[in-house]
């Protein structure tokens, strides 16, 4: 028997014995599987994640072929999935058992892995009630891909409401309670007035003396959520301010307009970085008018004299079989991605804690873009920048229409994070 034939038969036997994906009874010669390619053959990369997610929601099973054809999905060729793919415009390729065995053989022999996707995670997006759905990249990605989520805010977080969610995304919130430090520069702007009123009202109703105090309580609850096994994903300024709020134990890091007392001039020295998730040793911005928090951000977009130009960032290659988590998070059909600004655009290398996994960096620059780490039973992932397809996003800009960017590699990284909690847990070596 030739080796190839042997491998094929042996693999077929293994597949037959494995209680893997439920399959429809074969009708005629119809292929029982659909491969959802995620390389350049895919016509809508972002909606492909929604296809997989909805299949899991229906109780179906899927597999994520890490590093195989850009991170392809294997789904059963049932009527609902086929219809869903047709409506969403997601490219699928019929796959019969023989070809599937070949694919599995290919995966076995390369830096690839097949990860079963078992259960749709329950997704929460932390956002104020009046937040425009089009001002947050994750909300846009979830809406576009057709992934269900619930919006929660401070009352739910402080009231232990996070327990019922597997995955939490933080809208670009300022957890230092300083209204993104726009308070002075945009004084009188209706949106800012509304934001201030809403936050002050919430702090009062929850019994906190100020918005910074209340936001710190929210940050602590989010930290505990991760400790207990939650999956946290944050972008833009939520990354930096969450860690600043966690580390500011007994230190006033908020300007007088936010809590009535000026920022402690020695705040930098008083920070307790062991409480933060990702960063350490940062120097805090003391000016109440400068919409910059610290030197964690490498790009300092709102500081005219320190602002750095945009370049591009490169995703790292990880070993799929040894580091499946990191591999899942960097699945993409593009390895080099144009950078984009946010209130926090990137993370200074010098401010990262030693255990942080860097998922993407700008080669040669003193900052990184995309990081991941663990805390207790859970994990967190931070992605710098505001909107991957609007590199210079400004307040009041037109919303990004993702139907014009169905192949966005930046948005894919967000959706990798959404599906990552659906993966069957196994011993993670990252």
């Amino acid at each position: 028997m030739k080796r190839r034939e042997f491998v094929a038969r042996a693999s077929a036997g293994i597949v037959a014995l494995t209680p893997g994906l439920p399959r429809l009874p074969l009708r005629g010669r119809a292929a029982p599987w659909l491969l959802v390619p995620m390389d350049d053959a895919q016509s809508d990369h972002l909606k492909a994640y929604g296809l997989a997610f909805r299949l899991l929601e229906r109780g179906g099973k899927a597999e994520w072929f890490l590093n195989y054809r850009g991170g392809a999905f294997l789904v059963p060729a049932d009527g609902a999935t086929s219809r869903d793919a047709a409506l969403a415009g997601v490219t699928t390729e019929p796959l019969d058992d023989g070809r599937l065995v070949e694919v599995r053989g290919e995966i076995q022999n390369g830096n690839m892995d097949a990860v079963p996707l078992e259960k749709a995670p329950k997704v929460a997006v932390y956002a104020p009630p009046n937040a425009a759905p089009w001002d947050d990249a994750v909300t846009m990605a979830l809406n576009y891909a057709g992934i269900k989520f619930e919006k929660i805010w401070d009352r739910e977080v402080v009231g232990q409401g996070l327990r019922s969610y597997d995955w939490l995304h933080l809208h670009h919130e300022d957890f230092t309670g300083q209204y993104s430090k726009f308070f002075l520069n945009y004084a009188g702007a209706p949106w800012l007035v509304e934001m201030v009123e809403q936050n002050r009202g919430m702090a009062r109703s929850l019994g906190y003396p100020s918005v910074p105090a209340e936001k710190r309580a929210v940050a602590l609850a989010i930290g505990q959520y991760v400790e207990r096994g939650g999956f946290l994903f944050a972008m833009c300024t939520a990354t930096e301010t969450l860690d600043l709020a966690l580390a500011a134990d007994g230190v006033d890091i908020a300007a007088a307009y936010a809590d009535g007392s000026p920022m402690d001039p020695n705040a930098t020295a008083g920070m307790r970085w062991e409480r933060a998730l990702a960063f350490q040793g940062a120097r805090l911005e003391l000016s109440p008018t400068m919409p910059v928090y610290s030197d964690i951000d490498g790009h300092q977009v709102n500081s005219p004299d320190r602002r750095q130009p945009l370049g591009s960032f490169t995703l790292f290659n990880f070993s799929a079989k040894i580091d499946p988590v990191a591999t899942m998070l960097v699945q993409s059909h593009r390895q080099v991605i144009p950078d984009f600004y946010g209130l926090t655009t990137s993370f200074a290398r010098s401010r990262l804690k030693p255990g942080v996994t860097v998922l993407a960096e700008e080669t040669g620059a003193p900052w990184v873009k995309y990081i991941h780490g663990e805390r207790g039973q859970g994990t967190w992932t931070f992605f710098g920048g505001h909107d991957p397809e609007d590199p210079q996003h400004q307040i009041g800009d037109a919303p990004t229409d993702l139907s014009l960017h169905p192949h966005s590699p930046g948005y894919r990284l967000i959706l990798n994070n959404v599906l990552f909690p659906a993966a069957k847990k196994k011993e993670l070596k990252t």
Binding site: A187, G188, A398
Partner: protein, 580 residues
């Protein structure tokens, strides 16, 4: 071994021991350091610059180079010893004091910064630079108060109110204090007019609520600098006529200065294609023309006429053009431009006989191409009036692609479908602009399935559409469609009639026509009709019906070219993408 050899060995060893230092000194040249810096090898570049400084501690270029490369390495603080040595070696170099201020700023030593600035100020007592650099270094260290102190001290020492005004203005902007910023910008611009652009750019970002205060601050000042700033800000904030009025109220008597200011305003207004923007542009150009010698004014008057014409103010346009088109002394380019503009105005006003007569009269002033374009504009106007024979006669035997496109329209409206198709095909995709080409393609698609060579009723219906009588056009199109099989034009005509009904605000009629057009007997038309029907439902907020309709379209006609559009509409219906 000879004694010579024994002596040589220690010499060789000695030379080997001293070589690194000598080699370093030899290699530590500015070109090499620059090259290392250019390549991004900052560590090596820092060493190279230090090598130069070890020999010449006061070398300004090397110290500046070292400062540059230490910054990306996040090691700016390390420059302090080099700066000390440089200042000791070259205590009169202003550039070194600048580096020193930044170095002590980076190492967070405000007292040292002040001391260095004071030292520098003693060397250059009438210079603002020590205070400016001190303030900048303080700002780099996020010390706003330190910067303010530096600027105030500079102003006090130099004894003038306009000292460091631009810096104070920027500081006020960063505090959100726009009125103070405006007050500071004024002396800064008076002293150095080049600051005007920055002043307008920074003040221009003021929130709406702050703008009246800024304008009040500026209007309280009597001079032309204030008027000009006010004018440019008003234009930037969407009040072009107010901007023009502000500028005109303070225009200096000096002709050159006035013209320069008006031209600046015109340049700013060119970005604003609103009616007010165009009127303001026309008036500013008219004002410029009034200030120019007669020989030079013609071109500007022409530009003013074009701006007025684009704004729809034909009276003003004609006023500008009067005499210009017939002026034999005007430059030929101006005369032909004026003739073109005048004829365009006449055609726009529907004075076709006068336009025709003037076109003949002005023929010598026009190039062949200009004449042909105006002729076609005249033909188009006759077509719109329904005077097809006159249009045909004016068009004559125009064998250009634009001519064929017009001939196609004349034939179509006469009901000669075969002739229209032939002419449109001859016109091809390049006649007119993209919209014209698309319109012809749509008409070809409409006519293609119809088997009849002539259909006068259809021509009449389409002419009514051209003339803007949509209601009668819809009724007549439906009548014609009733006589045609669905697959042979019936469905297409109903779809067109449905679109027109929707556009004129009759959704019930549009829905009926779309449903009739979405016939399985006309599979080429049905997807478009279904999509149009879904869009109609979406507009009426009948979202779930629209979703069902779109899903039906995508699943029934998966190969249709309209499927991507249907998916986008589906996304919008489901709230997956923003409503645009």
């Amino acid at each position: 071994m000879s004694s010579f050899r024994l002596v040589r060995i220690p010499l060789v060893l000695l030379s080997l021991c001293t070589m690194p230092r000598a080699a370093a000194a030899q290699q530590a040249t500015m070109p090499r350091a620059f090259e290392l810096e250019r390549r991004g090898n900052y560590d090596a570049a820092a060493e190279a610059y230090r090598g130069i400084l070890s020999g010449k501690p006061g070398d300004v270029s090397a110290l500046l180079g070292l400062e540059r490369v230490l910054l990306p390495l996040n090691r700016s603080v390390e420059i302090v010893p080099d700066v000390r040595a440089a200042l000791a070696a070259n205590p009169s170099s202003a550039a070194l004091y600048g580096v020193a201020l930044r170095a002590w700023g980076a190492s967070d030593q405000p007292d040292s910064m002040r001391a260095v600035a004071e030292r520098w100020a003693r060397i250059a007592p009438r210079d603002e630079a020590p205070y400016r650099e001190w303030g900048a270094a303080a700002l780099a260290g996020r010390d706003r108060e330190g910067a303010l102190q530096a600027y105030r001290l500079g102003r006090e020492r130099l004894g003038r109110g306009d000292v460091l005004a631009a810096e104070m203005a920027q500081l006020a902007i960063s505090d959100g204090d726009y009125a103070s910023a405006a007050r500071e910008w004024l002396p800064a611009v008076r002293r150095l007019p080049g600051y005007r652009v920055t002043a307008v750019a920074t003040l221009g970002h003021a929130p709406v609520s702050k703008r009246p205060e800024i304008l009040r601050t500026l209007s309280a000042e009597p001079d032309f600098t204030a008027r000009r700033l006010e004018s440019e800000l008003r234009v930037k904030w969407g009040d072009p006529l107010g901007g023009l009025a502000a500028l005109e109220s303070g225009l200096p008597q000096a002709r050159g200065q006035g013209v320069e200011a008006l031209r600046g305003l015109v340049e700013q207004l060119r970005m604003q294609r609103t009616r007010d923007g165009l009127v303001a542009q026309g008036r500013a150009l008219e004002a410029i023309a009034a200030r120019l010698p007669e020989g030079q004014a013609a071109r500007t008057r022409l530009e003013a006429a074009q701006a007025y014409s684009a704004a729809g103010d034909r009276e003003a346009a004609r006023r500008m053009l009067s005499g210009l088109a017939d002026d034999r002394s005007a430059p030929s380019v101006v005369a032909s431009g004026a003739a073109t503009a005048l004829l365009t105005v006449l055609i726009g006003e529907g004075k076709l006989s006068e336009a025709s007569r003037r076109l003949t009269e002005l023929r010598p002033q026009l190039s062949g191409e200009e004449h042909a374009e105006l002729l076609r504009a005249l033909v188009t106007a006759y077509i719109r009036l329904g005077e097809l024979d006159r249009a045909d006669s004016v068009l004559g035997r125009d064998s250009t692609i634009e001519g064929f496109a017009l001939a196609g329209r004349i034939r179509l409206y006469r009901g000669d479908l075969d002739g229209a198709v032939e002419s449109f095909k001859q016109a091809g995709p390049y006649a007119g602009d993209r919209a014209d080409a698309t319109r012809r393609t749509v008409l070809l698609a409409l006519l293609q399935p119809i088997e009849a060579d002539t259909l006068q009723l259809l021509g009449a219906a389409l002419l009514r559409l051209e003339q803007g009588d949509t209601t009668r056009a819809v009724a007549e199109l439906e009548t014609v469609a009733g006589d045609l099989p669905a697959a042979n034009g019936g469905a297409e005509l109903r779809l067109l009639a449905g679109r027109l009904a929707a556009a004129k605000g009759d959704p019930a009629l549009a829905e009926r026509l779309y449903r009739e057009a979405a016939s399985k007997e006309a599979p080429a038309t049905a997807p478009a009709a279904e999509l149009a029907l879904a869009e109609l439902m979406l507009a009426a907020r009948r979202t779930s019906e629209a979703v069902t309709q779109l899903e039906h379209l995508i699943l029934t006609y998966p190969e249709s070219a309209l499927v991507p559009q249907a998916r986008r509409a589906l996304d919008m219906a489901r709230g997956a993408v923003p409503q645009t």
